[in-house]
């Protein structure tokens, strides 16, 4: 990735949120003692919620880029429910919730209104979970892309409908156990299919900017929000946010699990402009998908299959194949990383 690496880091703290040895101007927004905290304390997200963290990371960066002139439309989902139980709100941004499906349409309207009012300084962000984005709000989203409305849409992908009790979405990975894809029978968990890769679909619309990011890599995420805000027109960000409850991980491991998803290749971090991929975040310490899957009880059946009396080698190999394909397809391994892994 060209952006975040431009900063000259020192030897310690290179990958940390802050770095006391760096000049203030090049430190991360999250390390600022006076950061905006767009999502305030007291929200009702579960302990260790990746989505709450991802939303604060992204919106603080967007607020920074828009110099505080930001309006946000929110789809229904965890993010909406845990932040705004009537009459309380955790949002410290102008924020509006309408329906599950229509966040992108509401944002389109906001952008149009700002244009009419001549308020080009006010920027519009729409956000939602994977359910509201890849399934329920997908039609409205595609329309927003196609019309190239001046909106940054941010999807926080926790890979299922967590708010209603962990039901499968079309962003749920194969083999994962959810309430609607139980780990029973000869083909336990979610089906192996194509799923729905919205970043690639967004790229197919040819919109100015599409990027994936992870809560495990703050510097990269902040860079991408800032970059997205430099464009006018439809932009899309897909942020990977683990859910301790739905994935069956310890609440302390949210970032660790997100990091492993990136480092095994299952969640590729890339960016694209006008439909062409222009950057990728290379793996730093490649790991087998085994290591990643093992951390989560939604994949536990792969390692103690009742049918097979042990490891479900075939399905684990299929998952590895998906990761390998991502790595090859997006060029996630530099020669240097490959050397280290083989050593």
């Amino acid at each position: 990735m060209s952006g975040p690496q431009r900063v000259k880091f020192y030897q310690t703290g290179t990958f940390t949120v802050g770095n006391r040895l760096l000049d203030i101007s090049v430190r991360s927004i999250q390390s600022d003692a006076d950061r905006h905290n767009s999502l305030n304390s007291g929200h009702r997200a579960c302990q260790g919620c990746g989505e709450a963290l991802g939303a604060r990371y992204a919106l603080d960066a967007a607020m920074h880029a828009a110099r505080g002139q930001l309006v946000v439309a929110n789809a229904t989902g965890c993010l909406e429910v845990f932040s705004t139980p009537y009459p309380e709100s955790s949002w410290r941004v102008a924020w509006l919730h309408s329906l599950f499906a229509n966040a992108s349409s509401v944002a389109t309207g906001m952008a149009a209104a700002m244009k009419v009012k001549g308020r080009t300084d006010v920027r519009v962000v729409a956000q939602g979970g994977d359910g509201g984005t890849v399934d329920i709000g997908f039609g409205c989203l595609s329309g927003m892309f196609e019309r190239n409305d001046d909106v940054l849409y941010i999807c926080y992908d926790n890979e299922a409908y967590m708010n209603t009790g962990v039901q499968r979405s079309s962003a749920t990975p194969p083999a994962a156990r959810t309430a609607t894809t139980p780990a029973v029978g000869p083909e336990p968990g979610n089906v192996f299919g194509q799923g729905k890769n919205v970043p690639l679909i967004a790229m197919a619309h040819g919109i100015p900017y599409v990027a994936t990011a992870s809560v495990a890599d703050l510097r990269d995420l902040e860079y991408k929000v800032a970059r997205a805000m430099e464009f006018r027109g439809a932009r899309y960000m897909h942020v990977h946010v683990p859910c301790p409850l739905g994935w069956g991980t310890p609440t302390s491991d949210t970032i660790k699990v997100a990091r492993m998803a990136v480092e095994c290749g299952l969640f590729p971090i890339v960016e694209a402009e006008y439909g062409e991929i222009i950057g990728r975040r290379e793996l730093r310490q490649r790991i087998p998908v085994d290591d990643y899957l093992r951390t989560q009880s939604r994949f536990a059946h792969l390692f103690s299959s009742r049918h097979l009396g042990g490891r479900d080698e075939a399905r684990i190999a299929q998952m590895q194949a998906i990761a390998d394909r991502n790595i090859a397809r997006f060029g996630l391994m530099s020669a240097r990383t490959a050397e280290k892994v083989n050593a």
């Binding site: 880091f9 020192y10 030897q11 310690t12 703290g13 290179t14 990958f15 940390t16 949120v17 802050g18 770095n19 006391r20 040895l21 991360s28 999250q30 390390s31 003692a33 905290n37 999502l39 305030n40 304390s41 007291g42 929200h43 009702r44 997200a45 302990q47 260790g48 919620c49 990746g50 709450a52 963290l53 604060r56 932040s83 009537y86 009459p87 309380e88 709100s89 955790s90 703050l218 301790p244 310890p250 609440t251 302390s252 491991d253 949210t254 970032i255 660790k256 990091r259 310490q285």
Partner: protein
């Protein structure tokens, strides 16, 4: 009531919802003991001075070192750096070159004439230090800073002890030693050289001293019985090294045997090469891996062309026809316990001289009239406060049971000084309790980037054989800073902002540079992410009392 349709309540903030009540475990900031600090015989707070050096604040780093060790420039050269042996970074790539940074800081202090001052009122107490070696100097320094009047007496002509008369110049240039000694002197410490204390009791009485610290070192060379002819060519290592320091040229000849496997043997063999010996051969009864000398010294000696003869003992010397010496050497083999056993196989080696480097004993004759002392295995026993069996008389360095290194001696001096101070003030010195160790498993090493160690420039090898110039070069500022920044800050917050950043509940309050962070327990849900993502293991999760 002016509210929109169907709205009856005012908008409120979620701050009203104190999510801290969900918590079953609470994060707590802790300081854990970095392995380097734990390993340092002088008790330096290495992690802390590296932290200061990382900012480029070398003077603050130097002052931090000076709280424990008055001789950083010397120490950075001659200490065998057990800190680096313990360094957690070795598990990642290579240990931080702590000694090289310490040396850089020490040299900078000399160059910029940084000094320390006595900041307490005079206690009116008089303390005698016997021996101006590392232990005595360290004790004198700390006692002076604690407000006591200190007199150091030494039998030799100058301060430094083994640092001057044992360690060759190519490892410790004398201007460095002199500069650090004079800094101690400027604290008001009185030095009296060529003043051998032969009767401690009498000296104490005459000088009106309230306490004494004994640090005479171990200077009596151990001998091995080697039958020799009339014109014996057998010398001992310490007198050879002392002779070189005093400007004499010991007559070693062209082919020199050195008997022994310790650091002193290496020093003599390498010095012999510098004095013109074409061959210096170290004869040792066991194998290389059993040698007490430090690996890098053996390596440097080998690099300089010193030869080694393992598994050999010297039995006798006879005079050859041409007037040169012939030494009978018996081959040894290691038994199953690793002890060398004679094989009965002999060979003869011709050499111009044999230098014995078989260790040293302590000259305890000056203590003969002191009551209550207990001597065991040739050294004086001391309690945990470094006090001998005689009240008010403390001892340290090579003359007490411990590893015989400069750094251990410096540590003894500090420890004794703090206890002598307590003794003089009729209090008790209670050392601060040690934190739990910050082992490698406490770290989240993802956050540290790869950074290979900076290698100190080595003097051109060809030059070494003929001069006593310093062999290992120093770091310049840029690579000293690089090296300091390789520190992982094990167990101690380095304000990386990770906890502040990764908290999904904004429950970490950033207090600003140097002040670290505080948890806001009103909202902390106890997820534990901060502790997990802390790179250096400075957050502990504790069960909540519910």
């Amino acid at each position: 009531m002016n509210k929109p349709f169907a709205i009856t309540l005012d908008v409120g903030s979620s701050l009203a919802n104190k999510t801290g009540s969900w918590r079953t475990e609470r994060p707590v900031y802790v300081d854990r003991l970095p392995p380097c600090n734990n390993a340092c015989p002088a008790g330096e707070n290495i992690q802390q001075w590296l932290y200061l050096a990382e900012e480029g604040n070398y003077e603050a780093a130097w002052r931090q070192i000076m709280r424990d060790n008055p001789m950083p420039a010397t120490m950075g050269r001659v200490c065998y750096h057990p800190c680096e042996g313990a360094c957690n970074r070795a598990h990642l790539d290579k240990a931080v070159g702590i000694h090289a940074i310490e040396r850089f800081i020490g040299d900078l202090a000399i160059e910029r004439r940084w000094s320390v001052k006595v900041e307490v009122a005079s206690s009116g107490k008089r303390v005698l230090v016997v021996g101006a070696g590392p232990s005595g100097l360290s004790c004198a320094y700390h006692m002076a800073l604690l407000g006591h009047s200190v007199t150091v007496m030494d039998a030799g002509p100058a301060a430094g002890g083994m640092m001057r008369f044992g360690i060759p110049k190519y490892r410790l240039p004398r201007e460095i030693l002199d500069a650090e000694v004079s800094r101690i002197e400027s604290l008001g410490v009185t030095f009296r050289f060529n003043s051998k204390v032969s009767d401690l009791d009498a000296t104490m009485r005459e000088g009106g001293y309230d306490a004494a610290f004994l640090a005479v070192g171990a200077h009596l060379a151990k001998r091995a019985y080697i039958p020799a002819g009339d014109t014996s060519r057998i010398l001992d290592a310490l007198s050879v090294l002392r002779g070189i320091e005093s400007g004499e040229q010991p007559l070693l000849g062209r082919r020199v045997l050195v008997y022994g496997g310790g650091n002193t043997a290496m020093d003599v063999a390498r010095s012999a090469r510098r004095l013109g010996a074409s061959e210096a051969i170290v004869v040792y009864r066991r194998t290389r891996d059993k040698m007490p000398a430090h690996g890098f010294e053996v390596q440097e000696a080998m690099d300089e062309g010193v030869l080694f003869k393992w598994l050999s003992t010297i039995k006798a010397e006879t005079e050859g026809p041409g007037g040169e010496g012939t030494f009978t050497v018996e081959k040894m083999k290691l038994d199953e316990k690793g002890y060398p056993q004679p094989t009965g196989e002999f060979e003869e080696i011709k050499a111009d001289s044999l230098v014995l480097a078989l260790g040293q004993d302590v000259d305890l004759s000056f203590l003969s009239k002191v009551t209550g002392l207990s001597v065991k295995d040739g050294v004086v026993e001391v309690g945990p406060s470094m006090m001998t069996g005689h009240e008010g008389i403390f001892a340290g360095g090579d003359m007490v049971p411990a590893e015989r290194t400069v750094t251990v001696a410096i540590g003894h001096g500090k420890k004794a000084a703090r206890n002598i101070d307590a003794f003089l003030r009729r209090t008790t010195h209670v050392p601060a309790p040690k934190h739990e160790l910050a082992g490698f498993d406490r770290l989240n090493t993802w956050y540290y980037s790869d950074a290979p160690a900076t290698v100190q420039p080595e003097l051109d090898r060809a030059r070494r054989a003929s001069t006593f110039d310093e062999v290992v070069g120093g770091l310049d500022e840029s690579n000293a800073l690089f090296e300091a920044r390789r520190c992982l800050s094990c167990g101690n917050c380095f304000e990386c902002d990770n906890c502040y950043g990764v908290c999904p509940d904004n429950a970490v309050i950033k207090l600003g540079p140097g002040n670290r962070f505080r948890f806001n327990y009103d909202y902390c849900k106890g997820c534990g992410m901060c502790a997990k993502e802390c790179p250096c293991g400075a957050i502990r999760m504790e069960p909540e009392n519910i």
